[in-house]
């Protein structure tokens, strides 16, 4: 072979072998992820190198955690993870759709079809499906006050595929309220403003939304209040500790008195800053009703803490940078970088600030804020893997709500779209195309059915029965999805099963591209030096 002449160590797979390797890898990955899809999908347990447990049903997490080595599988996994990055959901669907597309193609290729022809068909089918999706989607108007019900339904559809039903229903309320809380008119939604905090405590159903902020550290001084009402909040990024000078400095003294003065002089600089804060406190808290809380991004050393404590100020040090941003959004006021010229305008306000101690950990809650634009989802769960699972699910839930608000559209779920799209491709599009490209369209259309098929399979239903009854309903002009409890067709609109428009569009867009690339490979070459030890 020509390549072997050039490099005797190169490994080559050519023609059908290369193609089949790709197809097999795609199918293999599909097999792994298939059982995840839908509300009846099963949980996988991932055990890490250190023996740590992770339980997941989320395709994205699974792909990230599995250390995949097969080159084709890596390619597919990357596409799927990219899907998650852009739209926040639909990883599992992407993988199984790619797998199914390859499977359908394999049939035709084995019959002697050239992959190029199939790929052409895919391209036509893809464009037609996207057009169809535009007409198929349901518009929802998201004005000043969006319809919470529809958002909840979207959230629930997503969350139920990640968690068990009761918890998912509860969380969908939480994610909707969280997103609406951080949403500002005329500005893109920044989900980063939703703080996700977890506490290992109680049960997963105790997870709740806090309008305000939860910080995972407490005040460091025993004399500071543990609970305060009507609090002014100063968010600052000022170092309240002695900082060594940049140059290498030293003192010379010859009596103990002199040294004593040095010691006080050293402190003075820091103390002055603290006194400025105390002065502001005395100005705004002249009545005894209100309290003052300082949340500092930099450190506060024990003498300063002591001064603050004596002035009745609650001080938190070393707050996270991201929380400084959120604090301002939640409580109002502004973050100050210097204590000079402090005015009461810089202050935020919170109705209640309190500390919660959980074993060794301390948490500070800043609650009852006015008009918040940032909030916290406080996840509770008895152990780490439950918390991790909920965290992943919430991330996806938030994204799905955000997508809906931005798309101003949803797509009927439960497999309804896929069946309808197939119908459209077979009945309308295929006829407009001449020649062999028709085959590609057919393969694409059949591959779409993998979603309802897998849903049925995971629910323990008979796949063929389900597909036929769904097809028949669509033939009669009814848009129906699959009821995974009974296997009967249902109207997704009535049941409130909605998928994200952008997720579906992204899937339709990316899947044929990657599948085409894999089909058009006719040679796999491994050359270059092998870095691993020869086995």
């Amino acid at each position: 072979m020509s390549l072997r002449v050039l490099n005797p160590n190169a490994e080559v797979l050519n023609k059908s072998a290369a193609l089949h390797m790709n197809i097999n890898a795609a199918k293999g990955l599909q097999d792994v992820l298939k059982t995840n899809l839908g509300p009846k999908g099963t949980i996988k347990m991932l055990v890490g190198g250190a023996g740590d447990i992770k339980l997941t049903k989320d395709g994205n997490t699974l792909l990230k955690e599995m250390q995949i080595q097969n080159p084709t599988a890596v390619m597919i996994a990357r596409t799927a993870v990219a899907q998650d990055d852009t739209s926040g959901d639909g990883t599992t669907s992407t993988v199984i759709f790619i797998g199914e597309l390859m499977k359908q193609s394999e049939r035709y290729i084995d019959e002697g079809m050239h992959p190029r022809v199939l790929v052409d068909g895919f391209d036509i089918a893809k464009r037609a499906t996207l057009e169809f999706l535009e007409n198929f989607k349901t518009h929802v108007v998201m004005g000043e006050t969006p319809d919470k019900e529809i958002l909840k339904m979207v959230g629930r559809t997503t969350l139920r595929t990640k968690l068990y039903e009761a918890l998912a229903d509860q969380l969908s309320d939480i994610v909707v309220n969280a997103v609406l809380c951080v949403r500002k008119p005329e500005e893109p939604i920044d989900l980063f403003m939703v703080e996700i905090m977890h506490m290992r405590h109680k049960f997963d159903v105790d997870t709740r939304l806090i309008e305000g902020l939860v910080l995972d550290h407490g005040s460091r001084h025993p004399d500071m209040k543990r609970r305060a009402e009507n609090c002014y909040i100063l968010t600052c990024n000022v170092s309240l500790e002695y900082e060594k000078s940049e140059v290498n400095a030293g003192f010379f003294y010859s009596t103990a008195e002199q040294r004593e003065t040095m010691v006080t002089a050293e402190r003075r600089q820091v103390d002055e800053k603290v006194l400025q804060i105390i002065e502001l406190k005395n100005k705004v808290c002249s009545d005894n009703e209100s309290n003052f809380v300082v949340i500092n991004q930099k450190g506060i050393d024990p003498p300063s803490l002591d001064l603050l404590a004596r002035a009745g100020i609650i001080a938190l040090r070393r707050a996270k940078r991201r929380n400084m941003e959120r604090l301002v959004l939640a409580c109002g006021g502004e973050a100050v970088n210097s204590v000079d010229n402090l005015t009461p305008d810089c202050l935020g306000w919170a109705g209640l600030v309190y500390e919660h101690v959980l074993g060794e950990e301390k948490y500070t809650f800043v609650e009852n804020v006015k008009n918040p634009h940032s909030c916290t989802i406080l996840i509770k769960g008895p152990n780490d893997h439950t918390i991790a699972q909920i965290k992943d699910a919430i991330r996806d839930g938030l994204r799905s709500i955000k997508n809906t608000l931005e798309d101003e559209a949803v797509v009927l779920g439960a497999g309804a779209f896929e069946v309808a799209a197939r119908q459209h491709l077979i009945n309308n599009v295929k006829k407009t195309v001449q020649g062999r490209a028709q085959v590609g369209i057919e393969a694409f259309a059949d591959a779409l059915l993998v979603v309802p098929k897998t849903l049925a399979e995971n629910s323990g239903l008979d796949t063929q029965d389900v597909i036929i009854s769904l097809k028949n309903e669509h033939e009669n002009g009814n848009i129906v999805g699959l009821n995974h409890h009974t296997g009967e067709p249902i109207d997704p609109q009535m049941e409130g099963i909605f998928d994200n428009y952008s997720v579906k569009r992204q899937i339709i867009n990316s899947v044929p591209v990657i599948a085409s690339q894999l089909l058009l490979v006719d040679e796999v070459i491994r050359a270059g030096r092998n870095m691993r030890k020869p086995s």
Binding site: G28, T35, G49, A50, S254, A256
Partner: protein, 544 residues
Amino acid sequence: MVFHMQPYGIQGLLKEGHKHLSGLDEAVLKNIDACKQLTLITRTSLGPNGMNKMIINHLDKLFVTNDAATIVNELEVQHPAAKILVLAGKAQQEEIGDGANLTISFAGEILQNAEELIRMGLHPSEIISGYTKAINKTIELLEELVEEGSENMDVRSKVEVVSRMKAAVSSKRFGEEDILCPLIADACIQVCPKNPANFNVDNVRIVKLVGGGLHNCSVVRGMILKNDAIGSIKKVEKAKIVVFTGGVDTSATETKGTVLIQNAEQLEKYAKTEEAKVEELIKAVADSGAKVVVSGAAVGEMALHFCERYKLMVLKISSKFELRRFCRTTGAVALLKLCPPNPDNLGYADSVSVEEIGGARVTIVKNDEAGNSVTTVVLRGSTDSILDDLERAVDDGVNTYKAMCRDSRILPGAAATEIELARKLKEFSFKETGLDQYAIAKFAESFEMVPKILADNAGLNAMEIISSLYAEHASGNTKVGIDIEEGVCKDVSNLNIWDLYVTKFFALKYATDAACTVLRVDQIIMSKPAGGPKRDQPAGMDED
């Protein structure tokens, strides 16, 4: 060579060294089996007659205990499914501080029963839905079984506290509960704040001193520090106390300081000023009325000298938390550095004295009237492992107190509640029509595990006991449990064995959650264990 064709399926996709288990046989049943093995270890330790385990952990530390939380913690369970059970036990331990064994054993029992159901042909998802229904019903029933009138209790009444604590303590140190319970109750009641819900476990300290015996155990109002006083003054009474978190020494600058000395005279002068400075400070401290100086860091030689001269007792507490506790005990405000104290910042103790108990010198800080913030339980015993075990028993007792401060409702103990739950749940399962009725019935049956183990561990005939319990309960005596001392069934309100409602509630809930999680998993993907440094092989027993 050409690529060796990758095998089809997941095996070919993953890195070498991966293990992949899936499906009913490989994953679910294996998981259940692992959990079963784990519970076989813990269940023999359940209840007052539970057996002790001897565990030597990787640090060669010996544990002799029947506390499930400790056992599973030291076992270092590797199997992922069994680990879920361990985590449930740990969660229970953190939440309540007691009942970890019930959590783990019960989870194991319902998993074992789930296995039977799976072999019968039920799908795990049906079992899960049945178990979920069952646990919800159990919670309902549990509320009904709560002893009437128990929701209001006086957390300061020793009798009431002891009766609720007894079951928890006796399951750890059977036969010693009559001595331990009053001690723990005393200690807890003394530090109970105005609002009992704010009770802090940290305020009951435990000091273990080898020597003596159980009868030498006592409760001290105040603290015991396990070290000697630094100076020569060993006993002070009715003393004011000043606390410095920084050291008691000459002050120092953050920036490096250098003493500039040109001749011998200056050196002498410098030393004098230094001395004068320290003396001035110590004198000011002594003038403020303080008799005891507590330092959080080192005490300088010179400072110590002056303290002696002004008849100040000097203590050193190097742990920050201990120092904070000390401040709470005495009501002192910790000062940052050596300076004349404000009278408000002084603390007070009735007596501070160094005593020798069992060969160890300890400083006892007593505060009979003023301070009700910290008490110490002094435990005496012949060996370290007995002391450790006693400590765990006291911990459980204190945690039980905390739990009862929050929710004082109680349930009949000695397996009376379990049998009643089993009976009622079974009735409930007959009313269900779906496939989950089998799961609910099995769930009900699982409760029999508790009386069975109690009886087994006490050497009684379990089947006989269970059937007579059922008979009693069916005839309406719902509070009949096992009296393990006599081996007969008796009304527990006479035996005075009560369990806390919250302990049971959380234990059952965590157990069911964990079991359902194990059942939900149908695929396990294990990556290659990380190659850390290999642990030393444990030294063989026969080596000298």
